[in-house]
Each structure stands twice: as structure tokens, then as C-alpha cells.
Subunit: 376 residues, 2 copies
């Protein structure tokens, strides 16, 4: 595994100090699943936090075992000699609170009841995640991150960090993100949520107690999600109107390649992801709106920040289009902050932020090399 | 009811001659629900056929009773003195075969079994609809239409008419349409279909026998459809991020105005539309590809046509974007046909073709006035 961080082992970190969430709910105890790569330097100035998006988690790079088929979700970006260079940086990633990959979430056992939280698990906001991430940094003695990096919902966490803890973020890298969702974004999320909630096997969120999973709903949510992650052109190039059998079958079984792809993705996802976590992640997206407490002015919100920013967008991303990234850039400029902006030509839609693409990698590498130079 | 066609009465027309469908299925008997406005002139040269889109039907203009709350679905376009002027034209509309508004469809009783067709109802292609519409014209003695007009899936029928029956169409008006679906279009349709088919109350299409309706699936399909009918900007202008209660509620009930709108539209639709008809209409869309039998060349397909064309698109329509209409225009020009093209500035997305908009109405009125002048 050249350029790989190799075999990594996640660790579960227990927090016994209650956390007061934005919703008013107090979670007395929680655990976070964490993975780190590289070595924290003596003055703890080389730490990078990677924040994940809707279906992401702590397993960013490397493998958990030699026999693993796939590496972590951002293995092309993180590793020795890669843009986020683990020879230079100590990289940390976690599964966010409310997740379903080892951190405390709706599918976890509530120690007070001995049963899964299910419907009783609270809604969690981006600002709540930032709070848990700050506590995690405290635990490791990291006072300030060299960079906080995230794509999509992950970029929103980087933005929120820069506002809530200005002195703890030297650089925020906000990739394929948006300052808040549009009505259309919320609409797509709501269709996905309704697919899950109206699945008879959802049981109001307490399906764990019935020994079932709302697979149909989760499958539809994921199929729909995938359409919004890909571009019309990219989908056209990859699938076009190709028929699986070459001829019309005049029925409702899989007929076009795109149907086969989406149904496969939906089926796979529905067996591995927790339905309540999906709901929770989409609500965190809907609620994110840092300008809200600054009279609706994003510039005013960004004026709190001390970080320098790299904002990256992709031309064919219609979920969070370049225009959304430019809103962030404009607000930063209006607030007299330092920001670099790259708009990457790509056919891969929103998913482009996860993919290997030379100009994108070059931008990331150059920016992170500059950060590394500041440390050395 | 100024400028209205007034009170109209649909009529059911029975066809006893079997129809051989593209799928190979033979339907021995079928009925079409039809509505007409205006008067057929002596030489039957002033007939206009209006073809409906996915959820449309024969009731285009006027009301069925004084107490009706709403008029037909294109009442702003069709009536005395309106762009499609019933003082000049004899206007005919029908509910397509496979529909659920009175024409023979999956919810109709199969006279051979005494039970609803359900899953046994055949897939119907756009070309099959054109065949049934041609037979309907024969019944009325209409050899040639002054114009065949349709938006979206309706525009595909007008295109198909001009290829299959070149001598029977003087003008084809193809509005907010496309020469074939993209992979993304098919993908959205398949998510809608999967929502219906995986609803436990779908019962493989034979839900009628179980006394239930797959409302959940139909509701999701309609919610999703609505997102694709509206533009991001239009949705933003109408709903933005407005909260129903003014404050975040940190739960999964309706919270944003856009959620309320979509759920309401979905709920309403799920009680009035037939799930099998919805499946059938989306398949007709997926299959439409007139270039397919002409070596993939749309120009070659259009070379069959003798009609003159008006193609209309709307700037914010992302379901069938202006670029899709321009494909049709280019093919017509390459085939040396006569075509006028109007790209209307609008924020209303795909739905714009149904809405009152002065420049759009003016284009339609001018074009149809010219057709009327040819007849007089």
C-alpha cells in the first residue's frame, strides 16, 4: 500500500461530562469513535481535523485489516506524500455524534434504559458537533488546529468552527459546501425523510425493538441522494440511455443501466446505514445557517473568524453549486478575511470532492504545503 | 365566466377494433374519455388536438358544473379569445389510454375477467397513444389537424404524430419538451416508480383486489416530481427557508414552508391518482426516443415530418431545459423543416408551460393566429 497510512485502528473515546445540545436536550454521557494518522508534534501545532459529510465517518484513510477491500473514504487525499500529508500533519477524524459507525447515536444503547435510543435520540446541530469536536481536541491537548477540513456538510462544520472558536482554527478548508440550504435542498431532504418515516417498518424510529429495519425508505432516500450527488452530464456520460439487455422489455424490472446502478447503491446502503442517523444528518443540514444569529448577514458571521480560508467548488455540482461557494467567498471578503477560492472544472457533480482529480489535488496540495511551511 | 368555454361535458368513446400495442400486447376493446370545445368547420380543417402530460387528462378548459372550484388544466390557454381560440378552432383533448380519468387503464374493469386490469395492463408507448388518437380523429372524420399541441410528455406526442402521420399534422407545437430523456430524467422516474412498487400496499399492481391504495409511494413520487417541476430560484422566491412556526422545533414534523407545500401536494395526489397509471406514464417518458429507429439521428426522424413547428422552452426549466428544446430545433433545421423557436424567460421551471405569462401567451397567440389565417 504505497502512500497509504497502512493499517489503522479506530478508538472509542468516552466523555462523561454532560453535553447541553442546541435543542435543549442534555446528553449525560457519549462516546466518539476516532481515527488518527501521523504524529502530533511537540507543540501540537500540526493537527488537522477532518469533518465528514452525510454518510461519512471516522475511517478516512488506510485499512482496518489487510483483507479490507476498500480503504477509508478519503484515502486519495490523506496519507504520506498525499495532499493532506501524514508525514507532516497529525490528522484526526471522528464519527460525529448521532452517527452509526461507533459514536453514540440513535442505534446505541441508552445506558439509562438498556434499550436503543431510537426516537428519543435528540436532533443534533452542526454547532453541537463542533462542541463535541472541541472537547475531543481538549482531550488530546490540541489548543489550535493547523486546519479544519471538510466537504459538503463537513465544510459547514469547518465554517462553524471558524465562527465559534476563532482562536482554535488557523485555516478552514470549505469544499463543495454552502452557507445554508436552499428551499430545493430542503425539499430533497424532506422527500428522503418522508420515505424513511412513512416506511411501515420505521415504527416511529423505534424499529430496533421490532427486529426490523426501514430498508425500503432508506433505499429510496439513498437513490434520490445519489441523483443529487452526480451531475446530469456526468450521469449521461457514464450511463446514458444504455439498456441492460439491449432491448426494451416493456415492464418494470431494471431496464436502463442507471436504474441498475441506483437500485444497487440503494440496496447496499439500506443494509449498512442507520435510518435515524440519516434523518438526523439531513436535519443538521437543513438547520445550518450561521448568518441566522447575525441579523441574516453571513459577512457579519464570518467577521468572527480569525482563520484563513480555502473555498473549493466544482463546476457541475448542482447540489451545492459554485454560486453557493461564491456566497461564502463574498461574505469573507466583505468581512475583510483572507480567502483563496478555486472553482474546479469537473463532470462529477457534488461527488467530485471525493474523487481523484489532478487540478483539485494540486490546489489542495499547494494550500496544505503552505500550511506545513508555517509550522516548520 | 368571461373568456371561458363554459360548462362542458366529457364523452366516452368506445373502440371495439383491437389495438396492437408496441409491447406486442393486443387490447381487444378500449374506451377514451374525450372533451371538445368550439365547432368543427365544414371542411374539418380547424381541428386542434391537445395532448396531455404525466398527470393530465381530457378536461382542458371550462368546468363540468357551475359549482366546480377549478377549471380545466389549461383554461388560461384555451377558450373564446384565448391563445388557442375556441371561436376559431375546434379543440379536442382526451385522457390517454392507460390513464385514470375515464379512459381504459389499469384501474378499469377488464371485461374478460370482471376485475381491474391492475398488473395485467400493458405498458403503452407514446406511439401507441398516437395510434389511439389517430383512430379518434378517424371517428370524427378529421383527416388532418390544423395543429397538435402539447407540453412536456404532450410535446413528445406532437413530435411523434409529425413523424408517424406526416400528412395529418399541419403544425406541431412542442412545449417544454425533449427528444428523449437523459439518464438523470430516467433516474428520477425510477425513484418514483420504486417508491410505488415497494409500497407494501402496491401488491404487485393488484392493490384494487385488496381494497387498498399505495398512497405512501404515490405521495413520495409526487413530492419528488414537484421538486423537478419547479426551479431552484422559483422555489427559493416562493418558500425560501421560511419556517412555519418561526422557530426551529428540533423534530421531524413539518418545519419549513416548502415541506408543508410538498407534503400537501403529495397527500392530495395520492388520493386521486392511480398508481399503475403513474408507473405507465413514466415508462412512456423513458421509452420515448424517436431517433432510435433512424440510426440514432433525430434529424433523420424529423425528415419524415411535413408539419411546421413551434418549439417553446422556459429558461428555468431544468427537467427539460432549453438545451433539450434546442436539440429538437437543430434536428428540424438539419432536416430542412420549418421551425420557430421561443425561449421564454421564466422563474417557474417546468411548470411554466401551464402558467399565465404574458410573453408566453403572446407567442402562442401570434403563432395560432397565423394558423387561423391559413384556414380562413
Amino acid at each position: 500500500m504505497t502512500n497509504s497510512v497502512g493499517i489503522v485502528t479506530p478508538q472509542k473515546i468516552v466523555f462523561e461530562d454532560p453535553i447541553h445540545l442546541s435543542s435543549g436536550y442534555v446528553l449525560p454521557h457519549y462516546e466518539l469513535m476516532v481515527e488518527t494518522y501521523g504524529t502530533l508534534n511537540a507543540d501540537k501545532s500540526n493537527a488537522i481535523l477532518i469533518c465528514h459529510a452525510l454518510s461519512g465517518h471516522h475511517h478516512v484513510a488506510g485499512k482496518h485489516a489487510e483483507t479490507d477491500k476498500a480503504a477509508g473514504w478519503w484515502d486519495n487525499m490523506v496519507g504520506p506524500g498525499k495532499p493532506i500529508d501524514t508525514n507532516k500533519f497529525f490528522v484526526m477524524a471522528l464519527n460525529n455524534l448521532g452517527g452509526c459507525h461507533g459514536s453514540t447515536g440513535p442505534s446505541s444503547i441508552n445506558p439509562e434504559t438498556g434499550a436503543p435510543y431510537g426516537s428519543s435520540f435528540p436532533v443534533v446541530l452542526v454547532r453541537d458537533w463542533v462542541e463535541t469536536q472541541a472537547r475531543l481536541a481538549d482531550r488530546l491537548g490540541i489548543k489550535q488546529f493547523a486546519a479544519i477540513i471538510g466537504g459538503s456538510l463537513g465544510g459547514m462544520q469547518a465554517l462553524r468552527w471558524s465562527i465559534t472558536y476563532p482562536e482554535r482554527v488557523r485555516h478552514a478548508l470549505v469544499i463543495a459546501s454552502a452557507p445554508k440550504l436552499t428551499a430545493q435542498n430542503i425539499a430533497f431532504n424532506d422527500v428522503a425523510r418522508q420515505a424513511i418515516i412513512t416506511d411501515p417498518e420505521f415504527h416511529g424510529g423505534d424499529f430496533y425493538l421490532h427486529g426490523v429495519v426501514p430498508k425500503r425508505g432508506l433505499r429510496l432516500a439513498r437513490m434520490l441522494g445519489h441523483i443529487t450527488y452526480l451531475s446530469d452530464d456526468g450521469m449521461g456520460e457514464k450511463f446514458g440511455r444504455l439498456l441492460r439487455s439491449g432491448e426494451y422489455k416493456y415492464g418494470f424490472d431494471v431496464e436502463f443501466e442507471i436504474e441498475s446502478y441506483l437500485r444497487y447503491q440503494g440496496d447496499k446502503f439500506s443494509t449498512i446505514f442507520d435510518a435515524n442517523t440519516y434523518l438526523l444528518m439531513t436535519k443538521a443540514l437543513d438547520y445550518f445557517d450561521p448568518a441566522r444569529h447575525y441579523g441574516g448577514s453571513l459577512a457579519e458571521a464570518m467577521r468572527q473568524a480569525q482563520a484563513k480560508f480555502l473555498v473549493v467548488s466544482f463546476t457541475s455540482d448542482w447540489r451545492f453549486a459554485p454560486s453557493r461557494s461564491r456566497e461564502i467567498v463574498k461574505a469573507l471578503l466583505d468581512a475583510d478575511r483572507t480567502v483563496s477560492y478555486a472553482e474546479i472544472e469537473s463532470q462529477h457533480g457534488h461527488d467530485a470532492f471525493l474523487m481523484e482529480d489532478a487540478p483539485y489535488m494540486a490546489v489542495m496540495r499547494a494550500y496544505l504545503n503552505n500550511i506545513a511551511a508555517e509550522i516548520a
